[in-house]
């Protein structure tokens, strides 16, 4: 196995996630795209850890666990905010959420 194949897969997932964040209008779908980004980062952490040897592989797994925990917190807060937007405006179209636009 080459290191490149994992890094390329992670880069592809990351770019698909960036496309989703930019092109989606529904807030829940934007949060799903953020999950794609975080997962690509985790693949990178694990693959580069294995590449660097046993000690670094363990450290990579620990950091990937931290990323998973942060992702769980992010989804919880994100969906709470989406629900609040829905309650105030009756839809979650992000192109209409422009109160802070100058």
């Amino acid at each position: 196995m080459y290191l490149m194949q994992f890094l390329l897969l992670a880069a592809f997932l990351f770019c698909v996630g960036v496309y989703g964040i930019l092109a989606r209008r529904n807030a829940v779908l934007v949060l799903m795209s953020v999950e794609l980004l975080l997962n690509s980062v985790n693949i990178n952490l694990i693959a580069l850890g294995v590449y660097r040897g046993f000690e670094q592989a363990v450290i990579g797994q620990v950091f990937a666990l931290f990323v998973i925990a942060v992702a769980a917190a992010e989804v919880g807060i994100g969906l709470a905010i989406v629900l609040l937007i829905y309650r105030n405006r009756a839809n979650i179209d992000l192109s209409q959420v422009d109160l802070m636009k100058g």
Binding site: M1, Y2, C15, N42, I68, A71, G76
Partner: protein
Amino acid sequence: MLAQNITFGILAVVMGFSAIRVVTTKNVVHAALYLVLVLAGVAGIFILLAAEFLAIVQILVYIGAIVVLFLFGIMLTRAPIGRSNELDNSQRGISAVVGLFLFGVLATILFDGFGDDKLEGTQVGRTGDVGLSIFQTYVIPFEVISILLLAALVGAVVIARRD
């Protein structure tokens, strides 16, 4: 080695297709279900890299909890359950350009840096090592993450409650 490469190929094809469907499908629920495929594929990649504890955590936390949260979010916001053309904004073309450009840049840099480096044999049976590492070297970040999760939980309740 051959079996690992075949497994990787299958996983990569399924994950790539599902990821593209997540961001292009016109049905919100289908997007969540394709997300399950991507997350399961990531768990498979973790197993391929001998990180079996992380693969289990991935399945438990992501597929078990986060996707269910997403489905709750879809249902609670009364998103259109069937096909809908309202899910994308008018920037799809430029977004695709940005994504492709970013992929090109990343692929170029990665090929430059890691050209044809091979992954050496992966050791298995590391769950104990991961535990030791968390609770010895990284115990303070671990506690900080605990506080963060607690704060996020309380914050989500405070934000979302009706008063």
